[in-house]
Symmetry: C2
Subunit: 324 residues, 2 copies
DNA sequence: GGGCCATCTTGAATTCACGTCACAAATGAT
DNA sequence: ATCATTTGTGACGTGAATTCAAGATGGCCC
């Protein structure tokens, strides 16, 4: 077998024990080995180094000068190894964590949790990067990314944080100026708010006689992130399709009005925390963060209903809580 | 098989190469291994440490924070190991050397060589301890001992440096006062110079009709070393049996006179450099010293002859040379 | 957008280093 | 002098690590 290397740390370990305990037999016992094994190992080491480390009779041990020097160095090296491994393996989450999130979800659900997270993990420092464009986790040097919508097949591992439905909305002022679309086909005559980056689905889905058809208003403005799109829509620029978890409060407050809601297919978009998988155990701080998110974020598939008073209500959406 | 320890240095070596060369395959090639071996090893390491060290796709490597820290520490540790081993294995003789010698031989044959030895090996420092009493090499922390006479069976290794015959001598003044012994039996009426420590042979051997008989003058003075015994004898205290390499010049100069020389059995006493054997290779400085002694000390079995003028001569004894 | 190449990963067979066992030698003490 | 303890040596067996072969994944180029 192509021997990569001799076990130099093991040799040093045994040698140090021999010196510390003052004998091969004692060292062997402390290592759960036989004296002959220790004898052979020390002989191997000496042969490999080309010098004798210890003069020995059946009664006494006497370090040579080389042995003395090697002993001290080995002691130090073993301590260094232990420290290096212990630090790398530190069970308490610590170090730096880079989180990448889409903007709406990050702002509304993640950021409110961060103070508590950092209180619970004082040894973790955080970078929060909010972008809606898809990023390469590794290129962005991010530990975790939070994405909405379908995940491309990759070796990323996803942990579901919640689900949200979508709604096509516009501002009351826009609807007053351009009228309320009654059918998907009407959208062709409307002004749309779209995206600067490609999305997984191009058109907006609508129910039509047990089937799904797509429609899309011609975009007159495009945003690079959901929050900008929301602002544009709030400003009466046009019609947009946004996530309920994002614009729920706007709808309830009447700042945005759902349209074609009776044709909404009710498709859900999952929100996931994704991280690189299949490459050894996760660092403690990454796991801690994901567990924290999964534990504290509960978005129970919110639904849109019209109240008796004609006002829209969001039901089932439990917001992130950083209280308690 | 009770695996004493994982090969922590080997793991670090592989990991460092992976980082340095930027890939598993490159590291595998540089280590004469297969990529799969490297992959498994890194996975093992990560599992053992309980954290991931490197995020990897088939194209890119991205160190985690733990990986970064571990990489730097590992690099340092590997350098330390190399240095420790290289220093221990240093091929050029260096360090401290403790030599133990019997006094006559040390003074007359070893010490004259030392200036040259130290000139040739400037990195060696020397301790010279002269004692005639037998010492335990290890207890005396000596690397080499030079002893005359038969060696006790032990695991010491002996290298022959020379041979010398013995002679029974006394000073002219003593002989003038007490007469010259003609037979071994006469010694019983003489005054002897003996030893404070036990010697391997108790009596002095003499030839008598193809057989060896022993005789010993009653000691009136005892010395702890050969040089003291010589001084006592030169002072006319009594009769002593001393090595020719030691008192040769005294005999030639007439300061000491051989007696019973016609009955001298001519037994030889070997002079050896002894060192602890069977325990791994010798340190370079020890080997250098022994080789140096063996090369420069030539004592060719000196013999005692009476010249035509009645004066005694020493033949065949080449003295140590520190010249040239 | 699809095929190709390079890379990493996984599972099963293989192998060689390392440790165990039993015995011998040596040392110091009783 | 004998005994007890410790180190050293040779033969043997184990099993952990490596290799081989095949499968996945990602990037690149056309």
């Amino acid at each position: 077998m192509a021997r990569i290397d001799t076990n130099r740390s093991g040799e040093m370990d045994v040698f140090v024990r021999v010196v510390d305990l003052g004998g091969f037999t004692a060292a062997a016992n402390s290592l759960r080995q036989t004296p002959s094994g220790v004898s052979k190992l020390v002989s191997r080491l000496e042969t490999r180094l080309g010098t004798r480390l210890v003069n020995r009779t059946t009664r006494k041990l006497q370090l040579t000068e080389e042995g003395q020097a090697f002993y001290q160095r080995a002691q130090r090296i073993l301590a260094d190894i232990d420290e290096a491994e212990r630090e790398a393996a530190s069970c308490v989450p610590r170090g730096h964590l880079t989180v990448n999130s889409n903007i709406p979800f990050g702002m509304l659900h993640v950021m409110p949790l961060l103070p508590r997270f950092m209180r619970e993990h004082p040894d973790i420092t955080l970078d929060i990067v909010l972008t809606d464009t898809l990023v390469d986790l590794m290129q962005a040097r991010a530990d975790v990314a939070i994405r909405a919508g379908p995940l491309g097949a990759s070796r990323l591992i996803a942990r579901k944080l919640g689900t949200s439905r979508m709604a096509v909305v516009a501002s009351p002022s826009y609807l007053a100026r351009h009228g309320i679309p009654k059918t998907p086909a009407d959208l062709a005559g409307h002004r749309g708010v779209g995206w600067t980056f490609p999305r997984s689905i191009r058109g907006w889905p609508f129910r039509r006689a047990e089937k799904i058809e797509e429609a899309l208003p011609p975009p007159v403005a495009r945003a690079s992130d959901g929050e900008t799109a929301r602002q544009l829509t709030l400003g009466g620029i046009g019609v947009a399709r946004l996530a309920l978890f994002h614009i729920g409060p706007d709808i309830e407050a009447g700042r945005l009005v759902p349209v074609l809601q009776n044709l909404n297919p009710g498709d859900r978009e999952d929100i996931h925390a994704v991280y690189v998988g299949h490459a050894g155990p996760l660092p403690a701080r990454v796991r801690a963060f994901i567990d924290f998110l999964a534990q504290h974020i509960r978005i129970g598939d919110p639904a849109l209903r019209r109240g008796a008073d004609g006002k829209w209500k969001i039901a089932g959406d439990k917001r992130a809580r950083d209280d308690k």
